[in-house]
Symmetry: C2
Subunit: 248 residues, 2 copies
DNA sequence: TCGATACTAGAACCACGTTCGATAATCTGG
DNA sequence: CCAGATTATCGAACGTGGTTCTAGTATCGA
């Protein structure tokens, strides 16, 4: 009983002897692979070969692919948190919350493989939890109930998550390979839409020009600002509003 | 040249001879598998064996696993659209939009494997596109620019998508196997949070009681209502508001 | 010097998506 | 009624990927 390896993948902790590899090296290489070609590109074998080692070594540092992904996410989230510091304080809690959400969104634009994974992990200590705290802290200065605060943070993060879901999916290989122009790829939507019966699809025809050549960031900002407008209203901070209204 | 099979997986269309199988049967079985154990449970082999056939037969009806998933999603989306009809018309566009979003959310609660996939497919005709149209159509009655309408629908769908992302991830096997009580699983968050330093994590301590035993639906509704409040404001329909404010 | 621990390494196992060619059932036209 | 084409079935086989296991090497404490 009690096989030799009890808990691998836990803490190689102390900087040990010849650090030919280390958890940092593993995570760094993993992030490289992810940045280069997205989530499917991160394979244990590929990672091992990039590190010039065997698959078994990788498993010494992480417990599996899922764990690896979680740690990679946590890794880059550290950078996002550092970015938060660099922003000037405006004094208005909602403005600061907005700035944070935009920073997070931009990180997701750069690394679509973050997908919506950056929300897993609030059950354990880590940068994901820290991020949640930083966002929520802004709301402490608002006149809200704890439940309202809790819902507000979730809502704001939700806007980022859904934008991330949008960004993280598409590139259908042909675009990646450069066989199809990105312009043409996006225009496909519009082409299909315009061919539809206007009587059956009045809305689609109404917005088709907006959809064509749509801007992901503007889309995100619009959704974010709708949520924040609702939040300001709830906190009694809307320009000219007074009575907070309960939603649910 | 011109190998025998030009376009399989396109339309077995016409109800053919001995319909020992059919695209409907395939989709039905696929949805069963998905309902039973989520997305990972849908394997080509598993599906084939449930249908009492070989893997090759499955590939006659669908071009691959991805296509299968897309069609399964489209399949259940048809049911959601039918559900829309059953709702009484309130007359208020925003209320109707809200009711639709809730209906969609409830479908996702029932079938977390819908994940955020139900947004892929608006580039081709199908129920996904139809759904988008139905949601947007409500907004035509609002005093908004096409761009604002476009952003509003995206925002509302985003709320559902992010809720779906939340719902679609968790069950870490132990809960599925019944080894861990669901209650205890959810309580883990709260336990961890309470153990944190209140000085470092003031927000988390502020909301920990709300998080403990949190209600997914209430959370979704709160986010939805924040967005809709912002939308009402934008459309000049806010209770007591008058001047629409541009966000971006 | 001797074990124990920390770490490396890759062969082997298994599940999966997908391809392919062989085969049967059905339809079409003569 | 009979060829040939079309439609559909089937499972062996290939490649890839996650994970496990066992054998081995380096480094440390005593």
């Amino acid at each position: 009983m009690t096989p030799p390896r009890q808990r691998p993948a836990d803490r190689p902790s102390r900087e040990r002897r010849r650090a030919s590899h280390s958890i940092e090296a593993v995570l760094g290489a993993a992030v490289e692979l992810l940045d280069e070609a997205g989530e499917p590109a991160l394979t244990i074998r590929g990672l091992a070969s990039r590190l010039g080692t065997g698959v078994g070594s990788v498993y010494w540092y992480v417990s599996g692919r899922d764990d690896l992904l979680d740690r990679a996410v946590d890794h880059v989230l550290g950078g996002v948190l550092a970015e938060f510091e660099r922003h000037p304080r405006t004094g208005d809690p909602v403005d600061e919350l907005r700035a944070m959400a935009v920073t997070l969104f931009e990180a997701v634009v750069d690394r679509p493989w973050l997908g919506s994974r950056f929300m897993r992990g609030i059950d354990a200590e880590g940068n994901s939890l820290r991020l949640y705290e930083e966002l929520g802290r802004q709301l402490l200065r608002l006149d809200l109930t704890p439940l309202q605060r809790f819902h507000a943070v979730t809502a704001v993060l939700g806007v980022v998550v859904s934008a991330a879901a949008d960004l993280g999916q598409e590139p259908p290989q042909a675009v990646v390979d450069g066989l199809v122009e990105r312009e043409e790829y996006l225009g496909r939507y519009a082409t299909v839409w315009r061919a539809l019966d206007p009587g059956e699809y009045p809305f689609l025809h109404d917005v088709v020009d907006e959809f064509d050549g749509h801007d992901d960031k503007a889309q995100f900002l619009a959704a974010l600002d709708l949520t924040l407008a609702g939040l300001r209203l709830q906190a009694g901070r809307a320009p000219g509003a007074d009575a907070p209204a309960e939603g649910s």
